[in-house]
Amino acid sequence: MSFLQEVGQWFLNPVHWQGTGGILNRLQEHVLMSIAATVTATLIGLPIGLALGHWGKGGGLAINVANVGRAIPSFAILVIAVQVVGIGATPAFLALVALAIPPIVTNSFVGMRDIDPELRDAARGLGMRENAVLLKVELPNAMPVVMAGIRTSGVQVVATATLAALVGWGGLGRYIVDGLANRDFVQVFAGAILVAVLSGLAEIGLAALQKVLTPAGLRLRDQPLKSAAIRKGAPQAEPAS
């Protein structure tokens, strides 16, 4: 039987779908953990980025923090979290939130700063209060870039949650980590397929959300915005770790 056939057999075996170690439960753990971490990181990072962008201060700091964040291997963050809070779901959650915050902060800051200042002036000239300027003018205009940050973070969280199997938590990474430990490459490969499919779905889902949340008038401008951001060295999607 060829290797790929063995992998096929692995998926067809009903035992691998049931119970705590079954695919359905591991998938549920992975998805719930990723959603919890991404939502928490958004609740923390978005207000910070929007506030910095609105007042136009501390931007250098935000970008530098994000760059340092990029340099810290997620593996290291995860392992250090274990040293502080012990093994299990808590270090995984904390590490994932910590990883997800920087791209959200930088993107929301960059998105706010990239808004044409004339729009802001016009809004103030119309007599809008600061809150209204922020919520009705700046935020919708910054939405594509803000959502790009959340998308980057979300996909990265799904990817890094795989590593969390190393620190005694579940999720789909268990198949890869346990398989590597037992030299069971069929299980390793099957786990890798599951993880890759889930990340792909996360990317597609968040891209769709980004599209839906982008105001209709801005959709046409999507592409030029993206390349402008790359030229400025703004944060881009990072590979998932």
């Binding site: 990029r70 340099a71 290291a76 040293q83 590597l180 792909g200 790359i230 030229r231």
Partner: protein, 218 residues
Amino acid sequence: MLLVSGEPWIRWNWVGSHLGRIWDALLQHIVLTAIAIGVGILIAIPIGLLAWRYRRTRGAVLASTGALYTIPSLALFALLVPFTGLTTLTSEIGLVTYTLLILVRNIIVGLDGVPDEVRDAAVGMGYRPFRRLMALELPLALPVIMAGVRIATVTTIGLVTITALIGQGGLGSLILSGLIAGFPTPLVIGAFLSVLLAVVADVSLNLFQRLITPWSRA
């Protein structure tokens, strides 16, 4: 901060007695990263040039490198292990794959950013496409391409730590052994040195870029 294990973050006498091992891990980390970036650049330049020159291929090239980029690194390494084993080759295939999207995209964006007037002027002066590319377009695109090299390098340095799980890893092997033994010192050293390495690489590449593109004040 208190540690669960009650161990101090760092035991300096362990560091003192394991300097050789730490040095080897650091060297392996640098070698794995350098190979990945070198091979990545060699592959990305032709792909980037083709995708830029023949616009029709661009969508397909960016979509396929983008799709590879979405696969979590641990999963990508795991997908390769059954075929290439727990080897350096497996690590490098994975690492190079991740550098490609960043490098190819920045090559395309950099070349796209060359002002049309400049290109028109060169055409008017009788520059043929190849000479235009070498004398004009590539040099003008260099700051953006180098920005891609920097991002790819910093990212790769982080990803190398994960290859510890398939028996490579450089500084990642220190982190992993600390995790397995429940002994914080090697993992703190490994994490610290990999961040330091990333920062040093980023700063030196930035200086290098300023040296080779004295005309740009980006």
